[in-house]
Symmetry: C2
Subunit: 393 residues, 2 copies
């Protein structure tokens, strides 16, 4: 087991009964806040009214910043930052999914910085402080509600960049499973693909032999996703299914998993960031398409094959007696079946009207942003990335 530092500071309030504590949590550190949300669905489903009532009772004054898009853009972060500064907000409350929370985090850092937020996002200037961030989660998947990361797209340069700093970690997050009842089957499927991809990417397939306890916990979380996503899609109001998915997602990419991160890499995320930067693909869908094809591409590596097989047996229910070679094939087939049949996601980039036109440029950009190569157990050059993109067509 490699050395690590583990410090999950976000206070999680789980369940509807705990939502009223939002008032006291925010009031303890801010009288004026910027409230960040998306396209307004929270007004239709009643979440907006519930939160506003709690904030009013607590004497918190709210300035609203809405219209945050999925794959949130630098221009949006700039506008939010300006508004936070003008309004003198002392904290930022995000109500939404990963895009809204990521935008709120970038705004929270931008609001205490004198210059352009892109300086921070592009690591030109270290982001060392931020306004306190609170979240009310309405969609599960990214794990941003407990993580220290924020991913923003610079639409001018087509760069999608992740900023990571403990100062961005939410101070408190409110996870109310009922608030995800209205998440569509498509978005539910994308969220679950995202959760699985976090383990693929960062941890499970990172290093070979020194993560026994952590791998076993990761398998528990992934199995939870595999078990409950079909149920949440069939019965959107099933509390247990939504609750299990919500809690699994929060563990997917957070300080909880810091102890898992020995040899972490982000191969899949770096490839997917190009897809969503160029084509505004829904993050989880891009990842779903990439995962099984990446597995096929690197399955010849001995360690990878062993880990794929373990994943197949312990998460996907692959027959342990198959032996490794057949087991790996069965694992990839089981993942395909889960993502594309059970969850109903389209399996090909061509289904999303993406062709090979930009593959070379995207692959080179992914590698350029990460030191020339996507470093992992099996490192990928731009050439490799083009091949994997092509396998996804």
């Amino acid at each position: 087991m490699a050395d690590f530092i583990f410090h999950p500071t976000t206070k999680v309030y789980f369940g509807k009964g705990n939502l009223p504590s939002l008032g006291a949590e925010i009031a303890a550190c801010a009288k004026d806040i910027l409230m960040v949300y998306g396209g307004g669905s929270i007004k239709k489903n009643g979440i907006y009214d519930k939160v506003m009532e709690i904030l009013q009772k607590a004497g918190v004054d709210v300035v609203e910043f809405n219209g945050v898009e999925s794959n949130p853009r630098l221009s949006t972060v700039r506008r939010g930052t300006d508004l936070a500064k003008e309004s003198g907000a002392a904290a930022v409350l995000a109500i939404g999914g990963g895009s809204v929370i990521d935008c709120a985090k970038a705004v929270a850092a931008g609001a205490v910085y004198g210059g352009d937020p892109w300086d921070l996002l592009s690591y030109k200037v270290p982001a060392e402080k931020a306004l306190p961030v609170f979240t009310v989660l309405t969609m599960s998947g990214t794990g941003s509600e407990m993580s220290s990361g924020s991913v923003i797209t610079n639409e001018e340069t087509k760069e999608k960049i992740g900023l990571d700093n403990p100062c961005l970690r939410p101070k408190a997050s409110f996870l109310v499973p009922e608030f995800t009842y209205t998440v569509s089957p498509y978005q539910t499927a994308c969220g679950s693909a995202d959760v699985i991809s976090h383990f693929f990417d960062f941890y499970y397939f990172a290093k070979a032999d020194n993560l026994s306890m952590q791998r076993s916990i990761m398998e528990s979380i992934m199995r939870t996703v595999v078990d409950y996503t079909p149920q949440a899609i069939k019965e959107p109001n099933n509390y247990e299914a939504r609750a299990n998915l919500m809690w699994a997602a929060a563990w997917g990419c957070s300080a909880i998993t810091d102890s898992f991160a020995a040899g972490a890499s982000m191969v899949l995320h770096f490839m997917e960031h190009e897809l969503s930067a160029y084509y505004d693909v829904t993050h989880g869908h891009g990842l779903a398409i990439l995962m099984p094809r990446w597995m096929e591409y690197v399955a010849n590596d001995e360690t990878m094959a062993r880990l794929f097989y373990r994943f197949g047996v312990n998460v996907m229910g692959v027959d342990a007696s198959l032996g490794e070679a057949d087991g790996v094939k069965a694992t990839i087939a089981a993942l395909d079946q889960f993502l594309f049949d059970e969850l109903g996601l389209k399996s090909r980039l061509s289904d999303l009207n993406i062709d090979e036109e930009n593959f070379r440029e995207m692959a080179e950009e992914a590698c350029r942003l990460n030191g020339g190569k996507l470093q992992a157990l099996v490192p990928l050059t731009a050439e490799d990335v083009v091949k994997i993109f092509t396998m996804c067509l």
Copy 2:
């Protein structure tokens, strides 16, 4: 899934490479500290020197309080509290296992309270604040290094009482697997029995159907203990075995598991506390003797039987095709075999020179301290507790 609040605030530094950060962590909040430890083994194995060097470099002044016994006593807490007050300590550093850490926590609370620490431990006066607590762990099992609890024995009244308050949670804990290399096979076995008992007690067998993800994670942790304890006993210097056991124990009874605690009860701990209060039994050994016999006693309950069977299949490697009735028997037999054959713990209270003399008094005391009955899925009266003690003879 029941509502919960999840707030694991302890910063964990895992691995030898992180130990030097102890200096800066403590210096950031205290110039003068009370350093609490046990019988002096840390002087023999070099841990004392390493820590003192780090503290000296950081300019931290140390007053030492040593000689903390296992099952730490109120009189010890009183002496430590007096010394903390006299010396003007602004923080408490525990170097040791659960007993030392529990004592340090009680001292940390006592040091900021005007009266007798027993007022706090007996809940006469709420413990709302404490000096910051830091720990360097030298023995795994109790999970005190990440938990908000402290268990102290009042040797005059033979009461063993657990105080629980977030103010007792360590600010930072340093987990160095090498520091447990000198832990004896017996203490290693007792620590592992303690870890498993935490899940038995608080969570795994607490409620029936709404803890899917949590149960799966608990199984991962318990399986880690079952896999690695025999190895750590055979090869005391095996880093991976010690590291996995250390990290598993920290998760056993901590804020991490707050989300698991729906319907939590402490049946086994409450029974064991009587054993160690009357006979100074090693906590984990008492628990090891009680666990399988308690299972036999309550296995007729339908929900219990189902959960025992799940535990058997997913943790103890019991054959899933056995069916429930035979499966439960096989599960208890597998646990007996693990604790008493593989780990080499003596299986009977009579092996520890305990007879039935005090069983009635102990059973009544356990129930009296907990509202008349040990509340759990299958509640236990004093009569039941006497029967279980007798089964352990």
